[in-house]
Amino acid sequence: VSVGTDRFGTIAELGRAFRDGRLSPVELTASFLAEIERVDTSLHAFIEVLATSALEDARRAAHELQNGLDRGPLHGIPFAIKDLIDVRGVRTTAGSRLLRESPVAVRDATVVSHLRSAGAVLLGKTNLHEFAFGPLSTNPNFGDVANPWDLRCHSGGSSGGSAAAVAAGLCVFSIGTDTTGSIRIPAALCGVVGVKPTFGCVSRDAVIPLSWSLDHVGPITRTVADAALVLRVITNVATASSPSCNVGWPDYAQSTSGDVAGLRIAVLRGLADPVDPEVAAAFDIAISTFVELGMEIEVVSLPSAQHSAGIASAVLFPEALAYHQRNLRERQHEFAADVRDRLAQASLVSGVDYVNGQRARRVLMAEVEDILSRVSAIVCPTEPIVAPRIDEEMVVVGAQSLPKASIVTRCTRLFNLTGHPAITVPCGYSRAGMPIALQLAGAHYGESVLLRVAHAYQSATQWHTRHPDVLPMRRIPTM
């Protein structure tokens, strides 16, 4: 680990360097701040960079370590947080013009306070699709988040800034939210790891809601081992103000070390179809790696999942409209056009549709539970396509031309509807160099098994060791 290359170090590597005296949290934080300054005009990953407070926090972390106060693996580790989540003294914009002049938050969200207590250093707040209501992270107010692997392509969303920042080496990890895939979609398209934990396992306190019954909070990291360390910190306390779970939390970092030989894994066919041939090929190779690791594979299908788009719309849209109704009525032209159109569509959903959507979720959940009664995890591609171009509306997959926004949630929304935990892990690159990923989903509160399988796969492959080389936007000289 050395300053310059350490921006891509793992949490364990950086922690060892801090404790050996080879690197200080201040040097590392300064290195990230310099890189954000250098490349974020190209990426638009950050809405607000908290340089002064980050350096103060880093100095405090360094001082504590020097004086024998060790807060654990995240001590001194720089992170970023989606600007949908409150940070004391900082405005939460949700990527919207509507909140650009809103008062600063009076306290930290619970997830932020857990990370601060663990000694993590907050670098700033990341860009997103406005109010998290869209899967691409286009944003007319703060700039479209670009994909670090090709600036002409989408990062995915809605936690696009959080994923792009991790992929580009602008922070060690970040926190996102996921309502139909908003952690896993950008993590997959940017070539990093994203975890949507079991519903309710991470507090949603002081997080602006999109859909109360579908929203999840979780980490985006470069490795599965890092995800385990972050998850351990953010799931550890139940709060009165948010229904996070009150169960005995396992040490996820320990759980990554277990053996996977003999585990049964269900390959979910059909959910992603139609699939880009390069994605299909990379996924098949990944499954052969699972077999080489000793896992037993069975192929399953989930017929009711064909309705997951309708079920998600019937539930999500009315809940989003309920939250935004007043602003939609009084300040509708301040919404981004696509978000306003989605909220308008929500007015077409009846009360009966909403209740039937919530009933249909039980059917889906029972079907997923039935599969999980026989296997340890379900696996499928995270995305049927690689990151689409920003300047193209439609994506050609096989013989079909499809709207890009409708494709990217196809494999992810199912597990928001059922509340099962899911993780996305890189599993290849296209010929054009764009990331491809697989998704593993498991039993409720079964994060440990998912992390174990994902870590075993990542340890057997090298995809996570590739990093993009982001060039700063060329500045046009003024005449």
């Binding site: 019954s213 009711s304 309705h307 788009a309 309708g310 079920i311 719309s313 019937a314 009525r329 056009a337 159109d341 909220l343 308008a344 569509q345 007015s347 077409l348 959903v349 549709d353 209740v355 039937n356 959507g357 919530q358 009933r359 249909a360 979720r361 039980r362 059917v363 959940m365 509306e393 439609m394 709207p403 926004a405 409708s406």
Partner: protein, 62 residues
């Protein structure tokens, strides 16, 4: 009076969905696809299935 205004507002939203302001095919397709996906829920067999959100009073046995 208030409900009249709400009806007008809702009618305007529905009109906007049917004729997206940017007039693009993709917006119209998205609106049409949205309606179809919701209508398709009627093909699911929901007989005897309760909604996932049910009221659960805080447990406090006295």
């Amino acid at each position: 009076m208030k409900s009249d205004r709400t009806d007008v507002y809702r009618a305007q939203l529905i009109d906007d969905v049917n004729t997206p302001r940017d007039g693009s095919k993709s917006s119209a397709d998205a609106a049409s696809s949205f309606r179809r996906s919701i209508e398709a829920l009627k093909y699911l067999d929901l007989e005897g299935v309760e909604p996932i959100v049910t009221f659960q009073p805080p447990l406090s046995i006295r």
